[in-house]
Point group: C2
Chain length 409, copies 2
């Protein structure tokens, strides 16, 4: 065991997830088991809190309440959108030193991993012994070196549940339904909509991802083909879809629609992309009933829609982070590896593997046409949404013979 | 017991709910216990299915599968947006007679109640003995004569869960959040957002309902006041908010914004109202981070977010409908009465009390300022979202004393 004595600091960066508090609680409860740890601090609002020494003494919190906080979505310590500059990372280090922080755990995405890297380098330069561990989280599942990341499974469960319901709604009142899902560069979260399918004719029938170029003409053709076949169509679209040159569709479509003299469209509109795609479908297919929803912020913090698998893993990455730092004297980024169907284990990878890197969907997960996912993705994704995922059921009763037959006149 | 022998027909009208199938299954399983019932038919896609004799023989379905269907959101028989004309109601009657339907159960809102009324009158005129029962359902809770309606509790649970999460998200990353909820004339569903509050500073901090005139100036003042106090603001808005002359805000604001030369806005935009209100807040308060979500279709069909109370009551209105018709030879609309905190009982009211009538929120449920609900509403609403409603928890750890105090420089 490492003998390095001092305090522990936990901070969070980036957007909240449904299970991020499990990681914070995992670190806090596990760290207190080590005699060389004096106090466990939590930084309020991430980097801002570190720069302002805005710390809570988590050592003076009950285990019961920490367990309850662990089950609460969105960061209980607060977060920030501020990305620390190299300079600020050096300042952060000064604060850590002042508070005798010897173990620093930063829960976040690739920017947080980069922050860890810089703080760690700075400590080495100054000969200040400090253990730095990056604890992964993101709903986008875009961190390299991980089978998947904590937060993704629960957000995916929300997306799959929303599409399962939207498919039932669309089946009862037919038409075209478009659901716009978060994910600018990685389509993983949008792809989770595929888990909503149970019966062969269930939606989502089409899935458009930022890993592929989006072609409005092809899109309209795809929708018409599905609508001709089933009399309805449910579509999952990533907010990040773009043209061949990488221009986001939401921008592109505005222009084309202006040129078509359909009038300007408010760019800031959170519903803009969904509305524009609806306009395309109506215009190019003549289908009248077209509806779109933009899942927006609900999908990352909706209370009560959590994957138990995700929750357990978020807790474990926090606990393992402590083990790597305190048992093994290591620095780095905790990574999840899949060891079975379904089981995982945890390792530590160099910050560089994660820092400022972005993972996108592997080709094997996207179909040849680029408008849906493959069975390989379904196999990969299914365990992550956890147990008790609700399943729809249909009436199988036979038809009754007509007597008047007006409909056939 | 009534001796009237023949077949049973179940149909559904209007928008789906999360528990509507419980009512259909309640009718189907209960009706089969009566010897005078030969067959139980289900009409596909409501009125359309009746006019086309598109019936399923529910008598040839297993109890197990019906129970599973009952737990599935959105109408398993399919629905329609078609509102039957008086003429079509007479045609519907002809179909019922052709199929020896003697018991007609129509699950829906006030239009369906009106349909029942006309079919029933027609049957009387023709001296054809027919029992007609309207079974209530709506997510808007806008049916007179009912304490509340099946479907409302589950939709309300979704809205409350979404705002509970949005409040946590907004607390972690501060700013202004606007959630737009369904409900053109009745604000009940929007008001359910109030159940998300746990701590005194929790959102939603402001709730705007169609029962009150919406004033953009007052709205901006309200938001600024909350933001000045808490550094953040969470707002629930009904899609139906309007000015003193009843013009919907979404229309009104477009104009004003055009006049302000902010450029045109696509009226069809599902996100339009949220975007427009965001623009107002930014413009009139100077607050930078303003976000809006439009809950759209997710709120009425999201799978896995169901109130157990709502589910049980939806089942019971179906069973009671059969009792009224088959034990007591009555026609009318089933109504839910609250008999305790919390318990309900069921009665039958004349179609006229419900048909084409709309209930809006009672004054005692809305605060004097018209920007929130009262404790009376919280007491009324709490039982309806059911058991196991998730509750957020906060870290209560004390602050750590600053050492460098840069923030205070």
């Amino acid at each position: 065991m490492g003998k390095l004595e001092g305090n522990v600091l936990i901070a969070q960066g980036g957007g909240p997830t449904a299970v991020i508090n499990q990681s914070i609680v995992g670190v806090a409860l596990e760290a207190r088991k080590f005699p060389q740890v004096h106090r466990v601090y939590g930084a309020r609002h991430g980097v801002e809190g570190i720069l302002n020494e805005d710390f809570l003494d988590m050592t003076q919190e009950t285990t019961n309440n920490l367990e309850l906080v662990g089950k609460t979505p969105s960061s209980a310590l607060g977060s920030t959108r501020m990305k620390p500059t190299e300079d600020q990372c050096r300042q952060m280090f000064k604060v850590l030193r002042a508070h005798d922080i010897r173990y620093f755990f930063f829960v976040g995405g690739n920017d947080s991993a980069d922050g860890c890297r810089i703080v760690n380098d700075e400590a080495k330069k100054c000969g200040y012994e400090l253990r730095c561990i990056h604890v992964p989280k993101t709903i986008d599942n875009d961190l390299p070196g991980n089978d998947h990341t904590p937060g993704f499974g629960s957000a995916g469960r929300f997306v799959a549940s929303a599409f399962a319901g939207a498919n039932l709604d669309n089946r009862a009142l037919s038409g075209v339904y478009i659901g716009v899902v978060m994910g600018r560069h990685a389509g993983f979260l949008t792809a989770m909509a595929s888990l909503a399918k149970k019966y062969p004719d269930d939606g989502p029938h089409l899935i458009y991802l930022p890993e592929r170029t989006f072609d409005p003409e092809k899109f309209a053709k795809d929708v018409k083909a599905v609508h001709d076949k089933y009399g309805r169509c449910v579509i999952a679209v990533s907010e990040g879809i773009h043209d061949e040159s990488g221009v986001p569709m939401v921008t592109k479509l505005m222009d084309s629609i202006e040129k078509d003299d359909h009038g300007n469209v408010q760019l800031s509109g959170t519903g803009a992309l969904g509305d524009l795609l609806s306009a395309i479908v109506k215009e190019k297919t003549g289908i009248k009933r077209v509806r779109s929803d933009t899942f927006g912020y609900i999908q990352r913090s909706f209370i009560g829609c959590v994957s138990d698998i995700d929750q357990n893993e978020a807790r474990e990455v926090g606990e393992k982070a402590v083990h790597f730092a305190l048992w093994h004297d290591l620095d780095g980024s905790v990574a999840i590896t899949r060891t079975g169907n379904y089981s995982v284990d945890y390792s530590l990878q160099p910050f560089e593997n994660v820092a400022a890197q972005t993972r996108t969907m592997e080709d094997e997960f996207i179909n040849a046409e680029g408008n849906n996912v493959t069975d390989a993705f379904l196999t990969y994704a299914r365990p992550l949404v956890g147990s008790g995922f609700p399943r729809p059921h249909r009436i199988r009763a036979p038809k009754v013979a007509k007597i008047l037959g007006w409909g056939d006149e």
